[in-house]
């Protein structure tokens, strides 16, 4: 690619997407820009995958693979879409493949037997009494179970909408469907969650 074209594209993308500009710098051999991308998206990618697979170690392993793939693709990278759309498409693909491969069976068992892999800060909160803690953990388990029981696409849409604060358009691009399909997908998903967690959400 001619340097002029690259720079023009970089400027055009920077106005829309700072991440894409960083990625173009990575493409030009700037390792520090990759560090910045990692800093900006590390947590959101890991947390998103974690809520999908519900296993901490697996989430980090898969997130490493996501960033490795981003780095591997640097030479062929073209900013045709928002960087985070591309990033979350890779993350979704890897996490769903992991779930489909049946590697989650052990995790599913843990889902049914009390979530032994609860993050440390959620294991115990000293501000709560033992009884309050038990109630809290029960609620948490129910929430995780309810989300895990949603159909794949609904689950991904809910996690991106609720926890990653993505808008309908971006979720649609990640899932490869229309914006109206995402709206209806999300409404159905939340409807199911409201029914499953009725005792928590009904006054």
């Amino acid at each position: 690619m001619e340097p002029g074209v690259n720079n023009d594209m970089g400027v055009a993308v920077a106005a829309l997407d700072y991440d894409a500009e960083l990625m173009l710098r990575v493409k030009d051999g700037d390792g520090a820009s990759f560090g910045l991308l990692l800093e900006r998206h590390r947590s959101s990618v890991i947390h998103f995958i974690y809520r999908l697979v519900q296993e901490e170690a697996v989430a980090e392993e898969l997130a490493q693979e996501v960033f490795l793939r981003v780095y591997r693709s640097r030479e062929s990278y073209e900013p045709t879409a928002k960087f985070t759309t591309w990033l979350f498409r890779i993350a979704t693909h890897l996490a769903l493949n992991w779930l489909r491969d049946g590697k989650h069976q052990r995790g599913q068992e843990s889902l049914d037997h009390g979530f032994p892999e609860l993050p440390a800060r959620q294991v115990a909160d000293r501000r709560r009494s033992v009884e309050q803690e038990m109630v809290y953990q029960d609620k948490l388990r129910e929430i995780r179970h309810a989300v895990a029981s949603l159909p794949e696409k609904q689950r991904v849409a809910v996690l991106m909408h609720k926890y990653e604060e993505m808008d309908y358009a971006q979720i649609a691009k990640v899932l490869g469907c229309s914006e109206s399909a995402v709206k209806s997908l999300l409404f159905r998903a939340y409807e199911t969650l409201r029914a499953r967690l009725a005792h928590m959400v009904r006054a």
């Binding site: 990692l38 590390r42 947590s43 890991i46 947390h47 974690y50 809520r51 901490e56 980090e60 997130a63 490493q64 960033f67 490795l68 780095y71 591997r72 993050p119 440390a120 800060r121 959620q122 809290y136 609620k139 948490l140 929430i143 995780r144 989300v147 909408h161 609720k162 926890y163 808008d167 709206k183 209806s184 999300l186 409404f187 939340y190 969650l193 409201r194 967690l197 928590m200 959400v201 009904r202 006054a203």
Partner: protein, 162 residues
Amino acid sequence: MNCPMESRNPETLVSYAAGELDLETAQALEQHLASCSHCRAVAAEQAALWKALDKWQAPSVSLDFDRRLYRRMEEEARRSFWQRMAHPFRPMLLRQFVPLTVSAGLLLMVGLILEHPHKVATASHRAEAVRAEQVERTLDDLELLQQFSAAQTASADHADAM
């Protein structure tokens, strides 16, 4: 505003609970909620669900996440360096390495075969030597037996004579 549940636009209630509606739309919806108990119930439940989902916090990221990632990247870069180095020779390797390997294998086999008869000859020579030794020993044993039985017969005759 038309009733979101009746006008097939229920996702407006989801957007409202998520705080995604612009001020004007939100105010119009709130006016509707004041008069529609169904929408009011859905909006309240969705808001409660939204709050309940907040309880689910993700764990903090491992401190060595970046270090592990950069190590993997370095390993990949090292691997790809050698792959790049070997790339120009790849067609040559494919064309010549396979026949060369086969030829080397054949030569090795011929060498072993040529080496083998000598070993076989030595082994059979040793076997023959052992066999001759065994025959000799057997003959000696037979001779001893004959001498022993002759001695026995002689002593028996002597006893009869007495």
